[in-house]
């Protein structure tokens, strides 16, 4: 009995607390949100805000010390320096090329897995698309380094045709990024094609459309939002990448490389450069949102 008394006392304490919480939904909500919001808003958004504020500071060119004086010099340099302009255009170009290539390769694969393959085998095929997503990012880039290196698989495959592989450079970067983000494009297209009602296709055929016409007038318009959804991943992941370029890009430079090389000596400039992919991605998202694709994410 003596040992039970404190236990019941504690039990009723817990019950009182539970009752108090139950009567105060606002308090419960505050308890739920305080910790996570401290983490995300103070730590994360706070760091981001300071970083972007520092884009308006400058660096003393002799001491590499940050000078906290408000100026738009960095953004002015961003627009006027030819190297920066060239790299920004190249990075956006790479992201667009990767997106286009992904869509081009993903479509036949998704069409096969969603509508042509025997229904029994389809879940397995989806797993087959997903599996590479779990393989390490770095290992996949490394695989392409192996393929594209001198005397590697690409050279060996192309040798009978009297050709050699592309080697390391811009094409290798586009190729590797396409490989990395391809599943993010296949999956949404697969889902959209799978959900396409068969009656619509039958109706189109009944009205006299051949396969090509049905594809253009029925399938494509209905799948396009999913392509847009997939492109959010392929575009933004390509735009922020700088590791792949370092491994297979040879001397190619993208925005990420410029940010990386400026961090030590000129943090304000690195911060200003870092705003570029963020702004481009936000603009891209706003453009995509108009297609309604973000709702299906």
């Amino acid at each position: 009995m003596a040992s039970e008394a404190p236990a019941t006392a504690r039990g009723s304490g817990v019950r009182r607390l539970a009752g108090a919480l139950h009567r105060r939904p606002r308090l419960r909500l505050a308890l739920l949100l305080t910790g996570p919001l401290l983490w995300l808003v103070v730590l994360y958004l706070g760091s981001l805000a300071v970083l972007f504020a520092s884009a308006f500071w400058t660096t003393d060119s002799f001491t590499s010390q940050v000078v906290k004086v408000w100026s738009t010099d960095n953004f002015h340099a961003l627009v006027t320096t030819p190297v920066f302009r060239e790299v920004i255009v190249r990075s956006v170009g790479v992201a667009l090329a990767v997106t286009a290539l992904c869509a081009l390769i993903a479509f036949p694969v998704a069409f096969y897995t969603a509508r042509v393959a025997p229904p029994r085998r389809r879940p397995l095929l989806v797993v087959a698309i997903l599996t590479p997503l779990w393989a390490s990012y770095l290992v996949k880039v490394y695989a392409w380094r192996l393929i594209l290196s001198q005397g590697g698989l690409a050279d060996w495959l192309l040798a009978p045709f009297g050709l050699s592989g592309p080697g390391f450079g811009l094409p290798a970067t586009v190729l590797t990024l396409t490989y990395l983000w391809l599943p993010y494009m296949i999956l949404p297209i697969h889902t959209a094609l799978e959900q396409l009602p068969a009656q619509l296709l039958d109706a189109s055929a009944d009205l006299g459309a051949r396969a090509g016409r049905t594809f253009r007038s029925v399938v494509l318009p209905m799948v396009l939002p999913s392509v847009a959804a997939g492109s959010v991943f392929t575009f933004s992941l390509s735009l922020g990448d700088y590791i792949t370029v370092q491994i297979v890009g040879g001397k190619t430079q993208l925005i990420g490389n410029l940010v990386y090389s400026d961090i030590e000596l000129n943090l304000p400039m690195a911060a200003a450069l870092g705003t570029v992919p963020v702004v481009v991605i936000v603009l891209y998202l706003l453009a995509i949102r108009r297609t309604g694709a973000l709702d299906s994410l």
Partner: protein
């Protein structure tokens, strides 16, 4: 849509090529770990298990693996707590700024890693260094947890939206307290979503390199950082090959677990 015979064959070939492109690089990594030659030339002159035994005894790789596991577990633990709390708030309450909260959760993974990386790096060095705390494993965990919250949140919030609050209400009508209802009713409902979120979160952390580069202290080397550092060293190439092959083989484990957990987890993407 009635596809002609030739269209079907063309699609089959196209899909076959697509899958080949997806899997050949991974198989190449596996094959190359058995390549006796130190260069990556193809075809390999023979097969050897020598590098596998060399890799097992490589202290750098083993140490990096252990660091990655610790970082992954730490980040997952933090993400599970924070992600679940936000999921409950967003799914079960209506409040001002609810949409903003779900947006802020996604932001760390939507922005390029290098932006998150340098933002956290400069915040850590201005706030922590005056306190005498340098960058270390702790800061890596903080960085990883920040972008892992979203995967736990997504999984739990999806589950909560599919289950109404009426089960909890029924439990409370039968006399259960708030805590009792959570333990006996709510938790079993979200358990598999939590496991799926934890799995994704650990995988995300285990694979991360960019944020890690900017938040790791000196001497803290996760497995991706180790691979990146040793990739271009010819002497270390065979061991890197083996580590890469092991990671390819290990990627089957989460797929298997996700399949076991539930069908809908496997078809939702990693993000």
């Amino acid at each position: 849509m009635h596809l002609g015979r030739s269209a079907r064959i063309a699609l089959r070939i196209g899909a076959g090529l697509g899958f080949a492109v997806i899997y050949v690089p991974l198989l190449l990594v596996l094959a190359n770990s058995l390549n006796p030659d130190r260069s990556a030339s193809w075809p390999p002159p023979g097969l050897t298990g020598r590098w596998w035994s060399a890799a097992v005894h490589d202290s750098g790789a083993r140490h990096a693996l252990w660091t990655s596991v610790k970082a992954g577990l730490g980040a997952t633990a933090v993400a599970l707590v924070l992600g679940t709390l936000i999921a409950f708030a967003v799914a079960r309450y209506r409040f001002f700024g609810r949409d903003t909260v779900s947006f802020v959760v996604v932001l760390p993974i939507a922005l390029p890693g290098i932006v998150t990386g340098i933002a956290l790096n400069s915040a850590f060095s201005t706030v922590l260094q005056p306190l005498g705390v340098g960058l270390g494993l702790f800061t890596v965990i903080v960085g990883h947890a920040t972008f892992c919250i979203v995967v736990v949140f997504n999984n739990v919030v999806a589950r909560l939206r599919r289950t109404t609050g009426s089960y909890e209400e029924a439990a409370m009508d039968l006399g259960a307290s708030t805590f009792r209802a959570f333990v006996d009713v709510t938790f079993p409902l979200v358990r598999s979503a939590l496991l799926a979120g934890a799995l994704l979160s650990f995988a995300l952390s285990f694979d991360e390199i960019v944020v890690t580069t900017f938040t790791a202290g000196p001497g803290i080397e996760t497995l991706p950082i180790w691979i990146f550092g040793n990739m271009t060293r010819p002497r270390q190439a065979p061991v890197v090959n083996v580590v890469a092959a092991v990671l390819v083989l290990l990627s089957v484990v989460p797929i298997y677990l996700a399949q076991r957990l539930s069908a809908d987890t496997a078809t939702s993407s990693r993000v």
